[in-house]
Symmetry: C2
Subunit: 357 residues, 2 copies
C-alpha cells in the first residue's frame, strides 16, 4: 500500500496524494466503526446508557461521520452507485444515534443556565431528576401574592426546570428507544455489512490510484471559506450587537433563519477537517484555529437548540406565569450564548492560521 501521504507528513503539497490515501483512511474509519459497534454490544448497548456504552456510541457516530464526509468530498474517486447509496444510510444512522445524547446535553445546559440565573441558593439540586423531584413537590400551582414577588420568580425557575426535565427526559427516552430499535433493524445490519466490506476493500474507481486528492480537498476548503465570507462577521465581531435576540419574540421562530448559515459553516468546517485527515493521515497536525472555530460553532448550535427548547416549553398549555417568565429569561440567555458563540467564532477565525505539528 502506497504511503505517499505519510512520507512528507507536514507537507502534503510535496508529491501526489492519491486515492490510496483515501482508501487507507476509509479502511481505518470502517475498522473503527466495527470496533465501536462490537464494544457497544459488549457493554450492553441495550441497557440505558452506561458510560462505556455512551463512549462506544460516540465513537460509532464519529467514524460514521468521517466515512460519510469523505465519501462526499472525494466522490469522483469512488464507485458512484455504492457511495451514493451509502451516504444517506450513514447519515440516518449517525443522526439516530446522536439524538439521545443531544437531548441529554440540552437538558444539562438548560438546567445549568437556570442554576446560574437563580444564584446558588434557589436551585441547589444540580441533577435533572433532583430538580424535577424537588420542584414538583415543593411549589404551589399558582403565582404567589404580589407581596412575595421575588419568591415567585424563584418558584418560576424551579418549575421551569421541572418542566424542561419532564419534556427533555421524555424526548431522550424516546430517542434512546429509537436508537435501540435502529441498531436492531435490518436497515442497520445492511449498513454494518457495507462498512465491513469497506474495511477490507474500498470500491475506488479505476483511475483513483493515479488521481490527486488535493484539488478535491481544496474545493471542500473553498466551500468553507466562501460560506464564512458570507457570514455577518463584522457584526459578530462587535460585542453586544444584540443581533441573536432580534426576532426573539417574533412570529417567525423555531428554528431562527439567521442561524442557518452558521449551522452550514459548522458542517463545512467538519468536512474540511475530515479532508485534512485524509490528506495527512494519522500524522494530521492540529490546527488550533480550526479547533477553536469548530468549538465555537458547536456551542452556537447547542445554545440555539437550547433556546428553542426553552421557547417550546413556554408554549405548554396551562403553565404558571412565573414559569413562563423564567423560560423567557432562559430563552434570552441562550440566545445571548448564540451571540457570544458567534463572537468567539469571529475571534478564532481572524487568528493567524497557526499549525502545531
Amino acid at each position: 500500500m502506497a504511503q505517499q501521504h505519510l512520507d512528507p507528513p507536514t507537507d502534503p503539497t510535496a508529491g501526489l496524494v492519491s486515492g490510496d490515501a483515501l482508501a487507507d483512511y476509509l479502511r481505518a474509519q470502517a475498522t473503527e466503526f466495527l470496533r465501536s459497534l462490537r464494544q457497544h454490544r459488549e457493554t450492553g448497548g441495550a441497557s440505558n446508557g452506561s458510560e462505556e456504552s455512551v463512549d462506544a456510541a460516540r465513537a460509532l457516530r464519529r467514524s460514521a461521520r468521517r466515512i460519510s464526509g469523505s465519501l462526499h468530498t472525494f466522490r469522483p474517486l469512488l464507485e458512484p452507485d455504492w457511495s451514493e447509496g451509502m451516504r444517506p444510510e450513514l447519515a440516518w444512522l449517525s443522526g439516530t444515534l446522536a439524538r439521545e445524547h443531544a437531548y441529554a446535553a440540552r437538558l444539562e445546559r438548560l438546567l445549568g443556565a437556570l442554576n446560574r440565573l437563580s444564584g446558588s441558593s434557589s436551585l441547589p439540586a444540580q441533577t435533572p431528576s433532583a430538580v424535577g423531584n424537588r420542584s414538583a413537590g415543593a411549589e404551589p400551582g399558582t403565582p404567589g401574592p404580589r407581596t412575595q414577588p421575588a419568591g415567585n420568580l424563584t418558584v418560576g425557575a424551579a418549575k421551569a426546570g421541572a418542566l424542561l426535565d419532564r419534556q427533555l427526559t421524555l424526548a431522550r427516552t424516546r430517542a434512546h428507544s429509537a436508537a435501540l430499535q435502529a441498531l436492531g433493524s435490518s436497515r442497520f445490519h445492511a449498513v454494518a455489512d457495507s462498512v465491513a466490506v469497506l474495511a477490507s476493500e474500498v470500491p475506488l474507481t479505476p483511475a483513483a490510484t493515479t488521481t490527486d486528492l488535493r484539488p478535491l480537498a481544496a474545493a471542500a476548503q473553498d466551500r468553507l471559506t466562501d460560506a464564512i465570507a458570507a457570514l455577518p462577521l463584522v457584526t459578530a465581531g462587535h460585542p453586544y450587537n444584540a443581533e441573536a435576540l432580534v426576532h426573539g419574540l417574533s412570529a417567525d421562530t423555531a428554528p431562527q433563519p439567521q442561524d442557518a448559515p452558521w449551522h452550514q459553516v459548522r458542517l463545512l468546517l467538519r468536512l474540511h477537517r475530515y479532508a485534512r485527515e485524509v490528506l495527512y493521515g494519522e500524522e494530521c497536525p492540529t490546527d488550533v484555529r480550526l479547533l477553536a472555530a469548530g468549538q465555537a460553532l458547536n456551542r452556537h448550535r447547542d445554545a440555539a437548540e437550547a433556546a428553542s427548547a426553552a421557547a417550546s416549553a413556554a408554549r405548554t398549555p396551562r403553565i404558571a406565569p412565573a414559569t413562563a417568565y423564567a423560560l423567557g429569561v432562559l430563552h434570552a440567555d441562550q440566545r445571548h450564548e448564540v451571540e457570544a458563540a458567534r463572537f468567539a467564532f469571529q475571534q478564532a477565525w481572524q487568528m493567524e492560521a497557526v499549525r502545531t505539528p
Copy 2:
C-alpha cells in the same frame, strides 16, 4: 472679581484657583436655575409636558445638580449651616423633577426593545398609546392552542407592551402631579429663595478667597478613581461574561446589589465633572473619556431600571403566560444591556485621557 481660573484656561495648575472661582460658578448656576424656573412657568409647566416645559425642567435639574454637587465637593469653603441645609433640599427638588422624565424614558426604552425583539412586523406601533390600544383590542385573554405557538409569543409581546404602557404611564402621571405639587409648595419656594440669594451673594467662609480649590477637586477625583478601581473591570472587559444576568431569577432582586458600585461611580464621575467645571470655568475643555464613561454609566442605570420594571410587571397578578414569557425575554435583554454598558465603560475608561480643548 478675580478670574484666575480663566487666565490660564487650559492649565489650572499654573496658579491658585481660589474660592472666587467657586463663587463665580455657583452664581452662574444659580442664575441658570432661576432662568429655567422662569421659563418653566412661562411655558406652562402646569400643563402636561410641552417640549419647552420639558427642556426647562431639564435645565432646572441640571443646575440644581451642579449647585448641590459643588456644595458637597467644596464644602470647607462654604458656610456650613447654610450649605448643609441646602443640599438635601436641592436633592429633593431634582429627584422630584427627574422622576417624570425617567418613567417616560423607561417606557420608551422598553417599548423600543419589544419592537426590536418582535421584528418589524409584530409590533408596528411605535408609540406607547398605539401599542396599548392595538394590543388591548386584538388579543385573546389566554394563550392559544399549541398548534399556533409562535403567534402566542407575538401576542405576548403586544400584551407585555400594553401592560408596561399602563404601569409606566400611570407612574409618570403620578410623578408629573408630584412635580407640579412640589413646584407649588412652600418647601420649593424656600429653595428658590435660597438659590436667589446664591445668585447675588455666595456665603463663602472668610478664608475661602485665599484657599486653593484644587486639593478638594483632586480629592473628588481620588474618590472616583478609588471607586473605579474597586469595580470588576477585568470581567467587564471580557465580552459576554454573562455576569449581569447572574441572579436574574434569584430571590434577592430589585435592585440588584451588583449594580450599586456602578451607580456609585456614576455619581462620583458627575461630581468630578462638576469640580472640573468649577476649576476651568466656562472654558472647561471636553474630556472625551469622561464623556464616554458617563454615557456608558447612564446607559447602565437606564437599562438596570428598565430590567427591573420588566421584572416588576411580570409580578402583576393574573397575567397570561405569554405576557410573562415576553417580559422574561425583555428583562434578560435589558440585563444584557447592563452588561454591554459595563463593557462600554471599561473600554472608555482604558482609553488614554485625551483632552480636546
